[in-house]
Symmetry: C2
Subunit: 953 residues, 2 copies
C-alpha cells in the first residue's frame, strides 16, 4: 500500500519526450490542487539504475514516468507483449514510487493522466475550472495495471461552426485561434483519451495561426494527431488556398485539378513538406471550394477519373515528402456527398471501390449530420485495407436545421449509433463535430470513452444512466450526495427533453397545448430542471460554481428555458385563440423566459472571470430556415376581454372547449376513469373576462364514489376542478355514470350551462398480465412493454430483441442484436409480441414510432414486419427509390427535425384481444412505441404520441 500525500517528485529521463514532460507538469499541478503542495521535478541523465537509486535517496514519493522507446527501464513494467501496442501504459505502484510506462508517447501521457484520474481530478480540470476535492493523502494498492490498446485507432473531435462563439472566445481570451488556445484544447483531448483533432477552419489556417507553425508543432509535441476536414487534402486548411491564390501565385488562381494541375499539385506538395514531419491523418481526395461538389457538370466517369488522378498525385506527393512507404502514412478519404457515388460507381462505370490508390486509405463515412448513420460498409466491403472512419455530429450548421448553441445531444442515441458503427466495422477513425466544444464536453467524454474502451462502454447493461452518474461523480466529487443526485437528474432530464426536439427548432406549435396533457407534462420536467439548477446555484461555493455553470447550469437552463418559453408561447396562443385572459399571463411568462435567456448569455460572458466570453452567442431558437437568420422570436398573443361575460371549459387532455352558451351548448365527456389506474381527472374553467368568474357546480349521480375539489389560479384565472374517484366505492356502485353541471350567469343573457358527462364503468379486465386494455379512443404501448419475445437466427448466430434503456422519447426502445443481422422477407427473424384489447372492431391505424435511422446499405431499404392477429404486413419505412439524405430532402428532413419516424400500418382488429408482433427485416430498426387508433376517425395531434394505455400487471 502506497500512501500518496503532498510530498512527491516527478522523475524522468532528461531525454524523455518533451510532450510527456509537459503533460507530467500538468499532472504535477493536479497533485498540487489535490494536496496543496507542488511536487518536485527531476530529470536524470542516466537511465534505469538511476531511477532505482533516486527512489532510495528520498522520502518523497517518486513518480517515474517515461516511454519504453526512450528508456528500457520501462520495458519490464509494460511487459514484452505490450511494447508494440498503440497507446498502452502500465501503471505500477511500489512502496514509495509509482512507475508510469508508456508503449509510446500517448501511452505515457494517458498513464500520467491515469494518476490524475485516481486522484479524482476531472479531465475538465483546466478546461473549465473543475476543481478536484482536496485530500491529505490517497492510498494506492501496490501492483501493476496495464491499459488495453484503445478500441478505435484515431479518436477525436472537430472544432467547427466556430463563429460567433468559439471564434470570439478565442480572440478575446487568447488573441486568436493560436497555440496558447490550442494547448487547452489538446490537453482536453488527451485527458479524455482522444488522440486526434480537426482544428477550427471557418476562418482559420491551423498551420499559419500559431503564429506560424506553432499550433502544429505543439500538437505534435503533445502527441495530438492532426487531421483536417473532408475537403482539406494534404495538410492544407481550406482557407489556405483562398489566402495564397492569385494571378501571380505559384499555386495559380483556380481550385481546379484539370486547368491548374501544376499549381494545385505544388500547393499540396508544400503542405506535405510543411506538415509531413508531424503526426497526421492526411486527407486525400478533393472537393470543390468551400465544401461544394468538385465538378458540377461532368459525367460520373469524368469525375471518377479526375478523383483517381488526384489520388495518384497525392499518394505520389506523400511518398516523396512524408514516407516512401505510403502504407505507413495514415490517410483518409471522406465518402461524403458527391464522393459517395464516385466510390460506388454505377452499372456502366466502375467506381473507386477496390482501386489500388485507395489501399490503406481509411474510408471515412458520416452520419446524416443529425446523429443517424448513413450508409455503412457491407460485409464484403468491411475487408478494405485501411478500414473505415465515422464523422459524427454533436453540432451542425446546415439543413434542415442547425444546432450550435448548447449541448442537445443524448447519450443513449449516440451509444446506439456509434455501437452500430463499430459493429458494422467502422473502427479506425472516429471524429465528432463538437462545434464550439463548450457544453458538448459531456457527450464528447462518452464518445471518446466508447472509442477508447469499446467493450466496457458499449455493454447494454452498462447504461448511459450509469455513465452519467459516474461522470457526475468525476466532475463534482465533493458535492453532497444529494447535490450529485440532483445534478444526475438534471443531466438525464435536460438531455432527454432536448433529444425530443432540439432547442433551435421547437416552436410554439411543437407540443400539443392540451391534448394528452402533453405540454403540461413537458413543462413540469423543464421547470423541475430550472428550479433544481437555481437551487444549486444558491448552494454552491465560489470555487464550485464555475464548473457547475459550464457543465450543468448553462446547458440545462439554457435549453430548458427555451423549451419552456415555446411551451408557454403555445399555451399563450391556445388561450388567446379561445379568448381566455390566461393568454396575457402566459405572454408575461414568455417574456420572462426571454429575459432569462438573455441573462444566461450575459452570465456566460462574465462567469469565472470571463472564461467563457462569447461562448453563448449563437442564435438558438425559432429557426425557420436551417440557420439562425430569420429565426423567429416568440410572438406574444395578447387577448382583449370579450365585452360580455364568458368562460371556457374543457376536460384535461382533450382539446375541445365549450363556453356553454345558450345557442352553442355542447357537453363535455370525461371517460378517464375507465382506466383503472386513474384516480383523479380534472376539468378546467378558464375566464374570458371577469364578468363570469362565479359559477355553480353540481354533481348529478356519482353517489358516494365521486367527489370534487376546486383550486383557483388567481394569475391565470383558470380554475381546476379535480374529480376524485373512490375505486372501492365505485366497484359497489350501481350507476357508474355521473354529470358535473357547471352553471354561470354573466347577466344580459350570458348564461353558461355545461354538462360534463362522466363515465367510470371499467372495461373487461379478464386478460393475461402484460395485456394493454383500451379505455379511451386509442391503445398506446411502449415498445419495451412487449408481452413476449422470441429469438431468430442469422448466420448461425442467435438474434434477439433487447431493450435500449432510456432510448426514445417516452421510455426506451427495442432493437435486435447483433445489429448487423438482416432478415429478407422476415425469414428467421426474431420478434416482440404485444397484446391489446380493443374496445371495438374495425380497421385500425398502427403508428410505429421509430428512431429516424437511415438505411444501412446502398440498397436504401429499411423495413420491418407488423403481424396483426397472424396477418403479416411488411412496412418499408422509406421509399427505396427516392429516399435520400441531404439538403431539401424533406422526407428525411422532417423526420430528422422531429427526431422520430412514424410509420403507419393499417390492419383489421377484432373487439377484445388482438396480437401484434414486430419483426425486423433490415438492420437499423429501433422501435420506441406503438399507438393504435381507429383508422377512419381523426386522431388528435401530439408531438410525442398518445401516452401509454392501461396495462395489466
Amino acid at each position: 500500500m502506497l500512501r500518496l500525500n503532498g510530498k512527491n517528485c516527478f522523475v524522468c529521463a532528461k531525454n524523455e519526450l518533451s510532450g510527456a514532460k509537459k503533460i507530467a507538469k500538468k499532472v504535477s499541478n493536479d497533485l498540487k490542487l489535490v494536496f496543496g503542495s507542488e511536487p518536485e521535478f527531476k530529470e536524470l541523465d542516466i537511465h534505469n539504475i538511476s531511477f532505482e537509486e533516486a527512489a532510495k535517496k528520498t522520502e518523497e514519493t517518486l513518480i517515474i514516468f517515461g516511454t519504453a522507446q526512450t528508456s528500457s527501464f520501462f520495458e519490464k513494467y509494460l511487459g514484452q507483449e505490450n511494447l508494440e501496442k498503440r497507446e498502452v501504459y502500465s501503471f505500477t505502484v511500489e512502496e514509495n514510487k509509482i512507475i508510469i510506462a508508456g508503449s509510446d508517447k500517448r501511452g505515457a501521457i494517458y498513464g500520467l493522466f491515469h494518476l490524475s484520474e485516481l486522484l479524482g481530478v476531472s479531465p475538465l480540470v483546466n478546461w473549465c475550472n473543475i476543481m478536484p476535492p482536496k485530500k491529505k493523502s490517497l492510498e494506492l494498492e501496490e501492483g501493476t495495471y496495464i491499459s488495453p490498446e484503445p478500441s478505435v485507432r484515431f479518436r477525436g473531435f472537430f472544432i467547427n461552426d466556430e463563429w460567433p462563439a468559439f471564434g470570439n472566445w478565442a480572440t478575446h481570451n487568447y488573441g486568436g485561434v493560436n497555440a496558447k488556445m490550442y494547448e487547452n484544447v489538446f490537453e482536453l483531448l488527451l485527458r479524455l483519451k482522444g488522440n486526434y483533432l480537426w482544428p477550427a477552419m471557418w476562418a482559420s489556417r491551423f498551420s499559419d495561426d500559431g503564429p506560424g507553425l506553432e499550433n502544429a508543432e505543439l500538437a505534435d509535441e503533445l502527441g495530438v494527431v492532426m487531421g483536417a476536414s473532408h475537403h482539406e487534402p494534404c495538410c492544407r486548411a481550406g482557407e489556405e488556398y483562398r489566402y495564397l491564390r492569385g494571378p501571380d501565385s505559384i499555386y495559380g488562381d483556380a481550385w481546379n485539378f484539370r486547368s491548374n494541375e501544376a499549381g494545385i499539385t505544388k500547393f499540396w506538395e508544400d503542405g506535405l513538406k510543411r506538415n509531413g514531419k508531424f503526426e497526421n491523418v492526411i486527407t486525400v481526395g478533393m472537393r470543390g471550394e468551400a465544401d461544394t461538389a468538385i465538378m458540377q457538370n461532368a459525367t460520373l466517369a469524368d469525375n471518377i477519373n479526375l478523383l483517381r488522378d488526384v489520388l495518384k498525385t497525392q499518394n505520389r506527393l506523400i511518398r516523396e515528402n512524408v514516407n516512401e512507404d505510403v502504407m505507413k502514412v495514415p490517410r483518409m478519404l471522406a465518402l461524403y456527398k458527391e464522393v459517395e457515388p464516385y466510390f460506388y460507381g454505377d452499372k456502366h462505370t466502375k467506381g473507386l471501390m477496390g482501386d489500388p490508390e485507395l489501399e490503406g486509405v481509411t474510408l471515412m463515412l458520416c452520419d446524416d449530420n443529425h446523429g443517424n448513420l448513413r450508409t455503412v460498409p457491407t460485409e464484403k466491403m468491411r475487408a478494405h485495407k485501411g478500414g473505415y472512419g465515422m464523422y459524427y455530429h454533436f453540432d451542425y450548421h446546415g439543413w434542415p436545421y442547425s444546432y450550435e448553441w448548447l449541448n442537445t445531444n443524448y447519450l443513449p442515441k449516440a451509444k446506439e449509433q456509434m455501437c452500430a458503427a463499430y459493429d458494422f466495422g467502422i473502427r479506425d477513425l472516429w471524429i465528432v463535430n463538437v462545434g464550439d466544444i463548450m457544453t458538448n464536453e459531456f457527450p464528447l467524454s462518452y464518445f471518446l470513452n466508447l472509442a477508447y474502451d469499446y467493450p466496457k462502454y458499449s455493454a447494454l447493461e452498462y447504461t448511459t444512466a450509469q455513465y452519467t452518474a459516474e461522470w457526475v461523480e468525476q466532475q463534482f466529487a465533493d458535492f453532497s450526495d444529494k447535490q450529485k443526485a440532483t445534478i444526475n437528474n438534471i443531466m438525464n432530464t435536460y438531455t432527454r427533453l432536448a433529444n425530443m426536439r432540439r432547442t433551435e427548432c421547437i416552436t410554439s406549435d411543437t407540443f400539443a397545448p392540451v391534448a394528452f396533457n402533453e405540454s403540461e407534462k413537458i413543462l413540469e420536467l423543464a421547470d423541475e430542471v430550472l428550479k433544481e439548477c437555481e437551487k444549486l446555484k444558491l448552494e454552491l461555493s465560489k470555487k464550485d460554481y464555475p464548473g457547475f455553470f459550464a457543465q450543468v447550469y448553462f446547458p440545462a437552463c439554457g435549453t430548458m428555458n427555451v423549451l419552456k418559453m415555446q411551451l408557454l408561447a403555445g399555451r399563450n396562443k391556445w388561450c388567446a385563440s379561445h379568448n381566455m385572459i390566461a393568454a396575457n399571463a402566459y405572454a408575461d411568462q414568455v417574456e420572462a423566459c426571454l429575459a432569462f435567456d438573455k441573462k444566461l448569455v450575459e452570465e456566460c460572458d462574465k462567469v469565472d472571470g470571463g472564461r467563457w466570453y462569447a461562448m453563448g452567442w449563437s442564435e438558438h431558437f425559432g429557426f425557420v430556415h436551417w440557420n439562425e437568420e430569420e429565426n423567429r422570436y416568440p410572438v406574444l398573443a395578447k387577448v382583449i376581454e370579450p365585452r360580455k361575460g364568458r368562460l371556457c371549459a374543457w376536460v384535461e387532455g382533450i382539446d375541445f372547449v365549450t363556453t356553454g352558451g345558450d345557442w352553442t351548448r355542447r357537453p363535455l365527456s370525461c371517460d378517464l376513469f375507465k382506466n383503472p389506474d386513474v384516480k383523479t381527472a380534472r376539468v378546467f374553467i378558464g375566464a374570458c373576462n371577469k364578468k363570469m368568474l362565479a359559477y355553480e357546480l353540481a354533481l348529478e349521480g356519482g353517489e358516494d364514489w365521486l367527489t370534487y375539489a376546486v383550486k383557483k389560479d388567481k394569475t391565470l384565472l383558470i380554475d381546476t376542478i379535480t374529480l376524485k374517484v373512490d375505486r372501492e366505492k365505485l366497484l359497489k356502485a350501481g350507476d357508474k355514470k355521473a354529470v358535473l353541471k357547471i352553471t354561470a350567469n354573466g347577466g344580459h343573457g350570458c348564461r353558461a350551462r355545461i354538462d360534463v358527462n362522466i363515465d367510470a364503468a371499467l372495461p373487461n379486465l379478464n386478460y393475461d398480465k402484460g395485456t394493454f386494455i383500451q379505455t379511451g379512443n386509442y391503445i398506446s404501448m411502449e415498445a419495451a412493454h412487449f408481452a413476449a419475445k422470441d429469438s431468430g437466427s442469422w448466420k448461425n448466430e442467435t438474434v434477439a430483441f433487447e431493450e435500449l434503456a432510456d432510448y426514445g422519447k417516452t421510455l426506451s426502445a427495442v432493437k435486435a442484436f447483433p445489429v448487423i443481422a438482416d432478415f429478407p422477407k422476415g425469414k428467421n427473424a426474431p420478434y416482440v409480441e404485444y397484446k391489446f384489447v380493443a374496445a371495438g372492431e374495425g380497421i385500425k391505424q398502427f403508428d410505429f414510432y421509430l428512431n429516424p435511422s437511415n438505411p444501412a446499405y446502398k440498397d436504401n431499404k429499411l423495413a420491418f414486419i407488423a403481424e396483426v392477429n397472424g396477418d403479416k404486413i411488411q412496412k418499408d419505412l422509406v421509399d427505396a427509390k427516392n429516399f435520400a439524405v441531404g439538403d431539401n430532402q424533406w422526407a428525411w428532413g422532417n423526420d430528422i427535425t422531429n427526431n422520430i419516424r412514424i410509420a403507419s400500418v393499417y390492419a383489421d382488429c377484432r373487439e377484445g384481444l388482438n396480437i401484434l408482433r414486430v419483426y425486423p427485416v433490415t438492420p437499423n430498426i429501433v422501435l420506441q412505441k406503438i399507438v393504435v387508433h381507429n383508422a377512419n376517425e381523426p386522431f388528435p395531434y401530439s408531438y410525442l404520441g398518445a401516452p401509454e394505455s392501461f396495462r395489466l400487471s
Copy 2:
C-alpha cells in the same frame, strides 16, 4: 300654380276613417316642420258640396283628403277606372286647394304622405329625427297625379332577432313592445309605402302586449296588414302557446295536432276570433315548437297527411270565424325547411302541390337567409292561385353566421335577387327581415320602393347608385352639395365593402395582408369612410347630426371600423410572423379600433336624447360559430425584437420576404413595370429591431428611366422605396432591366444584401382593343370588360348579357336577361367573349367568381359553359345530388360566408392570344370576374382574387 305656405287647413269628412285622419295629423305636423306654423284641421258633417264651399270661404290652402268609399266627392278625382284598384290615390292641385283621394284607406294614406314627400319630408322624419328643410313656400303645378297600383300586393318587414337591441330599446323608451312603440313602426312602414308587418316575436305576443289588443287595433286602424312568421298560424304569436298551455289549459299541453287536436284547434279558433276582424295575412300550416320540424320521426306520407289535416282544419276555422268566402281571406303557407319536401312530395308520395286546401293560399318562398333566393316556381307552378311570396333577409340569426348589428346589405345584390324573384313570378307578398330595423332603413327603403313601383326601380338603367343619390337627397336635402356627395360616397363605399364580407365574419385572415396589396387597398377605402364621417360629424349642426348619426355615421363607422380592425390585426399577425416591430404599432392600432367600437356603441346609447338606447348592443365581430357566443376578440401579436440586427424586404403585392442574410440570401423580383399602366412600384424595408435601421441603396442599370425615392414611417419603422419609371425614356432604353441593391450592416456578421431584380420590358401589345395582356403570373378580367357579346334566344325571346352596375366585389357583374331563360346544354345561349394574351402555353386554371346563387329549381342545377379557344367545358357550380342550403351544409355555407362562389375550369392555352366565351346553361349565373393562372403552380391567396390585368384600350 298653387303656392303652398304656412297657412293651411286639413279638411275631411267627419266620418272619414280614423286611420286616415291620424295620418293627416302626422302630415299636418310635417307641414309645421317645413313652414313653421301648424295647419288647422276641420271635419265636415256634409260631403262634396261642403268641401267646395269650405274652399271658397278661406284664404288658407285647403288640403281635402278622404277615401272614395267614405265620400263620393273623391270619385271624380280618382276616376272610375281606379275606384276598384288597391291602394291608389289621386293628388289634385287646384287654385287654393289640394284634393287627396284614396281608392281605399291606404290609398288615402299614401296620398297624404305624397304631400309630405313633395314638401321634402323624409319618410324617416319621425322614426329617426330627420328634419326637413324649412321653407317659406312651395309651388305646386295644378293638375292631377294618379298613383299606380302597387306592384306587389303585400309589402313589408319583419322585426326579428330583437334581443338584445330592439327589445331593450323598446323597453327603455316605451316600456315594452307595445302600441306606443308600434305607432312609430307603423308610420315608418306606411311612409315607405309598405302595408304589411310581421311583429317582433322572440319574447313578445303582439296581440297581448299593446297592452291587450291595442297593437293589433292600432295596426288595423292605420291600415297595416298584420302577418306572422312562417310558424305562427291563425293570428297566434309563437310565444302564445307557451304562455297559455298547461295541464289545466283549455288548449291542452302539447303542441301536437295528433295528440292534442282539440286543444290546438281551440287555440287557433280563439286566435281567429280575436284577430279575424282585422286585416291580416293569416299564416296557415304548422311547424314544431320554436321553429323546429313538425314531426321528426315520421314518414313523408305521415307528415303530408298531417299537414293536409291541419290546413283543412285551419280553412274551416277561417270560414267560421273570419269570412265564409275563404278565398277572400289572404292566407300564407311558408314553403320553408321541412315544409318544402311536403309540398313537392316524392316519387311515391304526392305532395301538397295542387291540393284544394292550398287554393288561394300564397305560397311563401324564402331566400337562403343570406340574400340569395332558394327554389323559385317553375313555369308550370307560377299559375298557382294565391301566388307566391318571398321572405328575404337583411338580418339573420343562424347558420353559418348571424348578422344582426348594423346594415351590411348591398342594394345591387338586393336588386338583382328581388328582381329575379319578381320575374320568376313571386309578386304577391314580399317581406324582409330587418332585425332591429335601425340602420336597415336604407335597404328597406329600396326594398319597399321596388315592391311598390317595380317598373321604375327594377330598370337596369336606374342604378342603385342613382337610387342612393336620391335617397341621400331625400334625407339630407339642406346639406351642402359637397356634404351630400360625401354622404353618397360613404353609403356606396361602406355597403360595397360590407358586401365583400359581413362585419361579423371578417377575421384577421380574410384579406391578404400583402398579396396584390389587397389589405392596403381595402384599408384605404375603409379609412376614407371613417375620415369623411368624422369630418362631417364636426361640421353638422345639432339639428342635423341625429339623422346623420343614425343613417350614416353609425352604420358606416361601425362596420368600417371593424373591417379596419381586422385588416390591422392581419397586418399585425403578418409583421409578427416576420418579427417586424411594426407588429407592435399595428397592435396599438387594433386596440384603438376596439376602443372606437366601444365608443360608437356608447354614443348610440346617448345620441339624440337616448332615442337609440340599446340599438348597438349586438355582438358584431369575430364570429366562429354562427352566433355571437364564442366570438373572438382580436388577438394582438406582440413582437420581441431579435437580438441581432435584422431587416425584412419585400416588393409590393408579393408575399415573399427576405432578410438578405449571408446564408439565406434570396433575391426579390419586381416585374410590375411590365404592365404599361404601372408607373411606380414599391419596395418595403421593415425593421426587425433598431440595430439595422440604416441601409444603403444603389441602383445598377436603369440608366435614366428608373429613379427611386425613400419615405420613412417612423411609427411602423417600415420604409417605402418608390421606384418610378419614365415610360418615354424606357422606350428608348437599350437595357430594360435593373437591380436595386439594398445593403446593410448590423455588426457581428449581421449583414443584409438584397437584390431587387427589376424587369421593365414590355410584352407584345400588338392586339385588338379590349384584349387583356398578361404581365405578371396571371390574367384577371372583370366580367363586364368582355371584348364582345352575342345574344341567344329562349322561347322566341332574345336573351342577352347585361351589366349589373356596381354588383360584385371589385367592379360589377354580368347576367343574361330575361333572367328566367335557360339553355340546356347551352343551346341558343347568349355569350360574353374575353380576349387575353397569355405569356406562356400550358394548362391554365380559370377561376370564375360568381354570386353564390342557389339553383333556381328543384333539379338543383346551376351551370354555365366556358369555351376556351373553341373547346366547350360545362361547369356545374354545385353538386346537384348533394348540394343543399341549410345548417351545416358547408359547400353552401362557405360560399355564403365569402359571398362568392369560385368555380375553376382547366383548359389548355397557347402562348399569345386566347379566346374565352361564357354561356349560361341555367338561370342564376351572375359572373363578377375571371382569374386565369397556371394550373400547376401555387397561386397566392387573396380574398378578392387578383386585381384586373392590363387591358388594351
